[in-house]
Symmetry: C3
């Protein structure tokens, strides 16, 4: 583990001071709606928290308070990352597992949002199953909290943090970005580096589009040479594609599209082969669910989807593709868990030998997530976050150890 | 949000000093078994905690310790309120979700009660499904803890807090009472104010009698003019009715009964239209469950109940009823969630226009609950609660912020 | 409750100083793999924590941090003990409930172990259902954490604590040992005391062998006269039996085996009648599960097992057996819940009159468990645990009370 380097920490703090960011009482829903300086502030704070943790310095800024873990799908990893982030700052986690049926009307979302927020500092929401729903739901929660706060129902405005919606997965992609930065050396060095976000085969159904969308819309802002590769039928939401193009232009980066996997990987610095569901099927599914279609129709759609996927079993990442990347050694990334051929599936996203080579790297990639979430909470809850951090650094207290017993 | 008003806080503390209360090591099961000064102490402490929270002052009086959330029915709201209260005081929440079968014998309740209490400060119990069971269960838990504490098994006597039983729902009704007090200006001003606790239609089955019982047995103690309205067949437990009569007499309040909804609301200051199950059906259900009757009999009873309810679909609160209340503008109350006609049901307890007018008020009503629970825990756990509060007020520490990092 | 006795505490600390133990960054999986001084250190620290707790002294040594509760079977008691231990030291608990299918491959255990450990100090694991699986699983988790820590994935090496596996149940047996010590007066006085670990009837299927194995392999190290009694077919794992023999020889204790229940109890100081599953059936079951055998085969095996158990309904502990023990009054022990004849079953492990006589004693036996777990965590996480404890004792802070608000 790194040694305590107060100079490095102070360096990060002076970077912060150069940024113009303002996230106080603002939610974190989609990276592309955030100014670049907000994004950079989250990244920097995440690294500061990571460094403080590694040096056994307490980041407990709340004596009491709740973080609500609001998952509309199952999850263990992101739950754990959210719980870790809350705990790091001193918040207790309460889980809120509402079935779909219980929050079916606008009115009830408003009510629920307020009921869970009287003593809460953050509501972390995952709602990624249905295209067209997750982001809308989060906005509705956020609007309800705005009303509650303005109308004197809530004593504070809790942060809403997107823990994956139908459009974006910001805590994942920002963790990914820190990993890429560590690999390249600095955010400046990302300019011109080629990253390939590629579809890959999986026997599963309904994986959200949020990770590939989040990747193309984030990495294009840092001047990277972004290639999106997928078979026909696996397009992403058009608005996000447009966003990525605009960002690439602005940052002097690139955004390329291809349906040819082999071509995509040539000379790549970084590769991200990962499965997602066909766009049209996701749209159809969302409609069926909205109209309460009979189960048979949904089952039929699932079969169609799996059949369509099965036509592209040759879309997986292996040694021979790796050899075509920059120096035959591009950084392999994955949000985990990956479908690994011959390990947890017959046909999947990646071969075992390649995965094994980068396995520990993918763990380190994942490790950034709790700190990214902690940064989002911190920036939403405190008006003068830089001042706080300076105080913590100038008078650090141990996270574990005797002097904490007071 | 209110500003920090140490004068107001000190005023509340001097009120406390005039009260003769003693809740140390005593549970909170039924409001009507508590002396009026105990009730007032809970109300005042709840408001003090609310004020401290709003002013970012830490109420953390436990460095470590557990609060056990023991729910024998599903719940998200009350769970959250209990979790918030525990967290506010510094306790971690552990959930205990025993199925009915696991705690079927007296012996096992005794054992379970002790097993979950070795390092616990409070056991919050909800058991409201069966008439004749919930309160008995809580008394059994309490007696088991008494034995454990006396016989040197437990290092402290955890508080048992009723989070809704078959008879009473004290954390709800005390939260309601604070809301009414805020509306009227002071507890003194409650005298003579007319409150109508009225049955209202719902398509659901088996809603407990605890809220209406709790309301009539609490509000009559504050000199209110309490009217209970319901169709025939929706009577409440006779002992509680007697209790309400006695309280009304003692406080120079009133307790009236009617089977006519329209008459009930005339000139009301406050209205509480809410559904509950028919008394006889609840009794029958409890017997069937006790005797392990076949499922068909229970299903038949449920159908009977729903049919009986359906005869009273005209019992709902709307604008024309509202017009007959004091100045056509009585305060509408509900413990939430309400059955709102045309929003989450076809026929329900209240029309959308009336509910919408008071929606934010019902949120504020609910907001009091965590502080009521915190007050109950605090009063049970500390021998000299007033002294503690005085110390907290005289030397306040921030709930969130840098100086808490120590 | 005991009064604060700093002399007694200091006495325990000086005992600690005489021990040569080193558990820093080491897991607690099987008692028989630990040097005797490690065992003694856990016991002494457990008693110190218990005493600090009883005297309202804070043991909070972590400002923030997670304890992961990883249960592969259902449990409420041990969950609660683990949660209490974590809370006592200042850790928040996160639960990890993975179904069998999700962690089916070696690769995935490695990944999961790291994913849940980024900010975690301890992983408490229960995996006791299948002979040959639980301990292996824990070793795999431990090896994964070793790799993660060495390869710079994890900032600390979390402790793995065995909360019951197929071979041992160390948190239970160490809690039992403290109880026995309290009963006899000191660990020295255990020498020559007769303890009978006896099989007893239960109508249930598949109870693990871990408790009887843990008892014989632990009590033989303290010079006790250990008798293991069971019907033929209820043998224990041979390696553990060998271990117990070796320990008995080394400690000048005894380890005897009998298939005669009556003979076993004669002159016993302590008795532990408890059910477990037939060895061969457990082996067979593990094989069937491993080979994904059809459900019918597993059901058939269960029937066989219950039939075999039923042949030994006469193996239960009652007054007449009790009369044959030392002074007719041997200490009765059980890890709870017990199968009590006529209370929660028709035929079970013990009669109601005998159980009732020792009921509160069994609660006190159970009470030690949270402190044993806290000791294991503490010893794994801190390099100089004795120094810490000395500081805590020399400058104690209140666990509950005003001065904690800082």
């Amino acid at each position: 583990m790194e040694k305590f380097d107060s100079k490095k920490l102070k360096g990060m703090v002076s970077q912060l001071k150069k940024l113009k960011f303002n996230m106080y009482h603002k939610d974190f829903l989609l990276t592309w709606q955030k100014p670049l300086d907000d994004i950079k502030a989250v990244l920097t704070f995440a690294e500061i928290f990571n460094s403080l943790y590694n040096n056994n310095i307490s980041c407990k800024v709340f004596q009491t308070g709740l973080g609500v873990s609001f998952f509309r799908d199952k999850s263990t990893r992101t739950r754990m990352a959210f719980a870790s982030a809350c705990d790091l700052l001193g918040l207790s986690v309460q889980e809120m597992d509402e079935g779909k049926s219980q929050i079916s009307h606008g009115e009830t979302v408003r009510e629920t949002a307020n009921m869970i927020s009287f003593l809460s500092q953050v509501i972390g929401v995952r709602d990624d199953m249905y295209l067209g729903r997750g982001h809308s739901f989060m906005k509705e929660v956020a609007a309800s909290l705005d009303e509650g706060y303005k109308k004197d129902v809530l004593p504070q405005r809790p942060a809403v943090v997107n823990l994956q919606c139908d459009l974006d997965h910001p805590t994942q992609t920002l963790a990914d970005l820190i990993h890429i930065k560590n690999y390249c050396g600095s955010y400046e060095k990302l300019k011109g580096k080629k990253i390939v976000m590629s579809w890959a085969y999986s026997a599963s159904y309904g994986k959200p589009l949020s990770v590939p969308q989040g990747i193309i819309a984030l990495m294009t802002r840092f001047g990277m040479d972004v290639t999106l590769a997928h078979p026909k039928g696996y397009e992403l939401v058009p608005e996000v594609m447009e966003q990525a193009k605009t960002f690439a232009k602005k940052s002097s980066g690139k955004f390329k599209l291809t349906n040819n996997m082999k071509e995509a990987f040539v000379d790549a610095d970084i590769v991200y082969p990962k499965s997602w569901a066909p766009y049209n099927i996701m749209l159809k599914r969302a409609e069926l669910v909205k109209s309460n279609a009979p189960k048979e129709q949904l089952d039929k759609l699932e079969k169609e989807c799996l059949a369509q996927n099965a036509e592209h079993k040759d879309w997986f990442y292996n040694k021979s593709l790796m050899k075509t990347t920059k120096k035959g050694n591009a950084l392999y990334m994955h949000c985990l868990p990956a479908d690994i051929n011959g390990l947890n599936c017959v046909d999947g996203e990646v071969t075992l030998d390649v995965f094994e080579k980068f396995r520990l790297e993918t763990y380190k990639e994942a490790r950034n997530k709790p700190y990214v979430i902690a940064a989002m909470i911190f920036l939403c809850c405190f008006k003068e976050p830089v001042k706080y951090i300076e105080k913590i650094i100038s008078k650090p207290f141990k996270r574990s150890g005797y002097y904490n017993i007071i």
